[in-house]
Symmetry: C2
């Protein structure tokens, strides 16, 4: 566990978004109140509520939500088994829904709250969504006790792929870069 995982939440601690390609000029910065511990506690309590409700409804024990400028943008509950979608983790559901609400593929300026530490899928989704902060309640070890593979997948990401049971194979054809060549030659591409 990193130092950041256990650092106390301090008001105004949210630094600038780490985005390289997002264009945050037209979005509000994270409100100072978003970084307030009491505010965090209130939103986290809602994610725990969403997670518990989802279990009662037959789903996985995970809830998440997106807040920007002190306002709720969208909520998500785990829908993996309900929707037959292995990517429908609560955080991914919340991010996708929030993007529809704001009409943008960037959530720069937003905070992702989640009932459990995001797994590598969800943390990657948070990075691609360009959120400013992630705040979570339970962690990967709690998830492991629940029978989930978050901890195992984090350990995989820390190891050389040659040690994985899942083969991830480069089979580079001559035209491997053709899509990027076409992309860079395209006058009207939308970067993200």
């Amino acid at each position: 566990m990193s130092a950041a995982d256990t650092a106390p939440v301090t008001e105004g601690a949210a630094p600038a978004a780490p985005t390289a390609t997002a264009t945050p000029t037209d979005v509000a910065p994270a409100a100072a109140s978003d970084a307030d511990a009491a505010t965090d506690a209130r939103w986290l309590a809602r994610t725990v509520e969403l997670a518990v409700e989802n279990v009662a409804a037959g789903g996985g024990p995970f809830g998440a939500l997106i807040v920007r400028g002190g306002e709720l943008v969208a909520e998500g509950q785990n829908r993996v088994t309900a929707n037959l979608d292995p990517t429908a983790h609560a955080e991914v559901v919340a991010i996708r829904a929030a993007c529809q609400v704001v009409g943008d593929f960037s959530l720069a300026g937003a905070t992702l709250y989640t009932s459990c530490e995001p797994c590598p899928l969800c943390l990657s989704a948070a990075l691609w969504a360009r959120v400013d902060r992630v705040v979570y309640a339970a962690d990967r070890h709690d998830a492991a006790r629940g029978g989930f593979d978050d901890l195992e997948f984090y350990e995989l990401f820390g190891r050389d792929r040659s040690t994985w049971e899942l083969p991830v194979v480069a089979a580079r054809p001559d035209d491997a870069t053709a899509p990027f060549d076409a992309w860079l030659a395209h006058d009207h591409r939308t970067d993200y």
Copy 2:
């Protein structure tokens, strides 16, 4: 780059799926032909074609598909900007579509082919989807030349989170484990 990344594809090289919770008893094992280099080349050529077509249509330069038992299950193209969905990477789109086709949240026995090395989001999606193999054409360095953050995000996953610009904060409330407690107490939960 790991040894596995550059290992030649050899017939019959696909080991058993690394799944801990999937129940592969009712799915076909990966066909030996799926691991054949010529077969890989044919499916990869299609992913490159999908990626190039997607650029011409205004989308990102990525294509992917899912094969099981020698048969195409579903294809995917990057839809991040088109669908305002930062998680709609080609691999995620293909995995989600394939799960709908087969009516299961597990793709055990399947191979994910993709025009570019899966980013951490997509590799995690492949792990959660329990595919047996991943085969890719271009790599994270090609993606970086195209202006994409795959390489940067892989580097983040290799570093302690305390060094990230994105704060990922544990703010553990007293009821942090309530969702998992409810989950473990639930008689009719569907594991995944």
